[in-house]
């Protein structure tokens, strides 16, 4: 019954889609003016060679502000839903639980710990070179967030919690999100539009170029990395420490 309904509705949707796609140009013959305009003016006007990052943080920076706050809100939602409820209590020593995850082998520890340093450096490289080469705040922030994951995979929850103390990560996330909005307000304070590029533009091709794009990229990287580490912490804490009251003793 459900499959018949699905088939009928899918046929209808496909008919609409085909009718709409008939008006589109064939793949490979892009015609629209905006892409060409942005490709042509991005380097002369903003000294940024990566046009996609320039669009994200300068030409359409307001959309990116909204997207960053979507990420912020969802991390808040995850933390809220996974918090300790009133009928749960916290385990004291999660590592001595016989039903918990097994300890990592030596090869795993060596490999993951050796990867932490290169990942941090690579993430920072992608964040700082956002306006020059493909990359930027989001991509670099995500790569930075996998470094604490490597520490967790090396086996010890205590070291993971020491590396990512919750207070510091929360402050970092708030700094990233609030800093983005403050940079926009600084544009207003300088007498121009919100999120307008007001810092000196520098030389095309050097790292400290294109004004506020660099600053916003760094702030976004901090916020994304901190947000994902927070969500990871909440998941791991919930899985390993919190349990129902009265179940285990």
């Amino acid at each position: 019954m459900r499959l018949i309904l699905f088939a009928v509705s899918l046929a209808g949707f496909a008919a609409f889609f085909a009718a709409g796609a008939r008006g589109l140009r064939p793949v490979g013959h892009y015609a629209g003016p905006y892409g060409d305009v942005l490709n042509a003016i991005s380097v002369p006007e903003r000294h940024a060679t990566d046009v996609v990052t320039a669009i994200n943080f300068d030409f359409r920076g307001f959309d990116t502000l909204g997207e960053e706050f979507i990420l912020f809100g969802s991390v808040m939602g995850v933390l809220l839903i996974l918090r300790q409820q009133h009928d749960e209590l916290r385990k004291e020593n999660p590592e001595e639980d016989p039903n918990g995850p097994p300890a990592a082998s030596d090869a795993m520890r060596a490999f993951t710990l050796a990867l932490v340093g290169p990942m941090v450096i690579f993430g920072l490289y992608i964040v700082f070179h956002g306006q020059l080469t493909p990359g930027g705040g989001f991509q670099g922030g995500l790569i930075l967030a996998t470094a604490p994951l490597m520490v967790y995979l090396s086996g010890k929850l205590d070291e993971f919690k020491a590396v990512t103390s919750p207070r510091l990560v929360e402050i970092a996330e708030a700094t990233g999100a609030g800093g983005f909005a403050l940079v926009g307000l600084a544009g207003l304070a300088a007498g121009k539009n919100f999120l307008e590029n007001i810092l000196p533009l520098g030389k095309t091709g050097s790292v400290f170029s294109s004004g506020t794009i660099f600053l916003i990229s760094v702030l976004t990287g901090i916020e994304v990395a901190a947000g994902i580490v927070l969500a990871m912490q909440s998941f791991l804490e919930h899985a390993l420490e919190i349990m129902q009251r009265g179940r285990n003793g």
Binding site: N99, P134, Q139, T146, H238, R247
Partner: protein, 90 residues
């Protein structure tokens, strides 16, 4: 010409992988499939000349999403085991 062939091949592989992913019912097997599908999507973005998007998709679709789902599955398994232990006690 070569690029066109690679693009067509990437699109067809994507369609086949999507169908295979949906038809896998066990969540644990499907998570590995999701990681592979994410990597395949990143490859398709790369041959369609979109490196920013490919970078983002590699980390999100092949690392962050399967990690979230694996953590959810571990949580579910722990709840099931606690429930069974409590049912056995009764």
């Amino acid at each position: 010409m070569i690029l066109l062939l690679i693009q067509l091949w990437a699109l067809l592989l994507l369609a086949a992988a999507a169908l295979a992913l949906v038809l896998t019912r066990a969540p644990r097997d499907q998570t590995i499939g999701l990681s592979f599908y994410g990597l395949l999507l990143a490859l398709m973005f790369f041959v369609f000349q979109a490196p920013d998007v490919a970078l983002s998709q590699i980390v999100v679709g092949a690392v962050a999403l399967p990690m979230l789902i694996m953590l959810g599955l571990a949580e579910v398994r722990r709840h099931t085991r606690e429930r069974e232990r409590e049912n056995k006690k009764k």
